[in-house]
Point group: C2
Chain length 205, copies 2
């Protein structure tokens, strides 16, 4: 990043906000395991975050509890920002997920300290709420975060499931928040899991 | 897109919503003129839409009127969806911009008819509000849509300005909404325009 070309304004706060905006463009280079639906390449974090934000605008009626859509969409667009410093961890990589929480907390310290303190806290709070999956907004956002790669997998011959040699029980565990919070949508998920097992994309147990 | 692999649920409405979600993944293949800040390649519409949504969460304090951030972020993530059918039009391509409104209206007819009617209308209304740039929310979203590529240009040696042989008056016209709605931020814009002219990235008049 040619951040050296950045011209400061006469406002230190604005400079921090603009530099942070430039910095997070690195999300376009954080690659996920998921393939784009056209199978041309892997998806990046910016694309994924955008995709689940739009999805949240469409599926609210299936949520078991009332959610604040404006908050959820904000949560969706910032939920993976810490990966700029911590990188993406594949959901089904048990080894890679060891120490993930600590790694991401350190990443958050670094990343959000670049913003004015009030805004760093605002975004970190949203991310921590998302990660804890306790509030209705966070559970709904988590459903989007699980459903989107699930949809991609069903349309790309089970790409990341195959790659990760994923078991049925792992997928069910990953999608449990959808089962509990969006039961009607989970019927569609179950049907796809059945098919994925039959096609050999997911192992039976 | 292997949309043939899509398994229907027992809910026609949900099927439409999920198929629309799959369909809009094509935003990752709609390329803009803007370079990513690391200069590795051109930016796509999904990345741009995500980027301005996060930016909107950071710069609200400079808006001249009160804005509803939850609405603005939703507007940001859907504001370019019609380009799936209409493709991106370079802001400084006068020729290409002829007939853009009609082209995009037709694209919207096609695209949004794939959603349940109420949701097609909801997103189309947001897009039309954005495009009209009359409400505070739309003007603020438009500022993000102008500032983000402006920031990218300042950090990529004026890439799209050079390519388009852009004149100072064109940039000023494009950024006029920032001048009017976010005057404090426009001071930084002006300083960058000066520099861009000095460096020869923008022609003087």
């Amino acid at each position: 990043m040619s951040i050296n070309d950045f011209l400061t304004s006469n406002n230190e706060r604005l400079d921090k906000q603009l530099l942070f905006t430039a910095e997070i463009d690195r999300m376009t280079a954080i690659m996920r395991r998921t393939l784009l639906i056209d199978k041309s390449r892997r998806e990046n974090d910016a694309e994924h975050s955008w995709h689940i934000a739009v999805m949240a605008m469409l599926l609210k009626e299936y949520a078991r509890e009332e959610v604040d859509l404006g908050r959820v969409v904000q949560m969706c667009v910032v939920h993976d920002l810490v990966e700029i410093e911590a990188d993406d961890t594949f959901a089904y990589d048990d080894q890679g997920n060891i120490g993930k929480a600590e790694r991401e907390a350190r990443a958050a310290d670094i990343l959000f300290s670049r913003l004015p303190a009030d805004q760093g806290k605002m975004i970190r709070d949203l991310w921590e709420e998302f990660d804890a999956m306790e509030t209705p907004d966070a559970r709904y956002a988590a459903c989007m975060d699980r459903l989107q790669p699930f949809l991609h997998n069903t349309l790309t011959d089970g790409h990341t499931w195959n790659q990760g040699q994923v078991r049925r029980s792992q997928v069910e565990k990953r999608l449990a928040v959808v089962r509990d919070f969006m039961p009607e949508v989970y019927q569609w998920v179950e049907k796809n899991i059945e098919t994925a097992v039959k096609k050999g994309w997911i192992s039976r147990m």
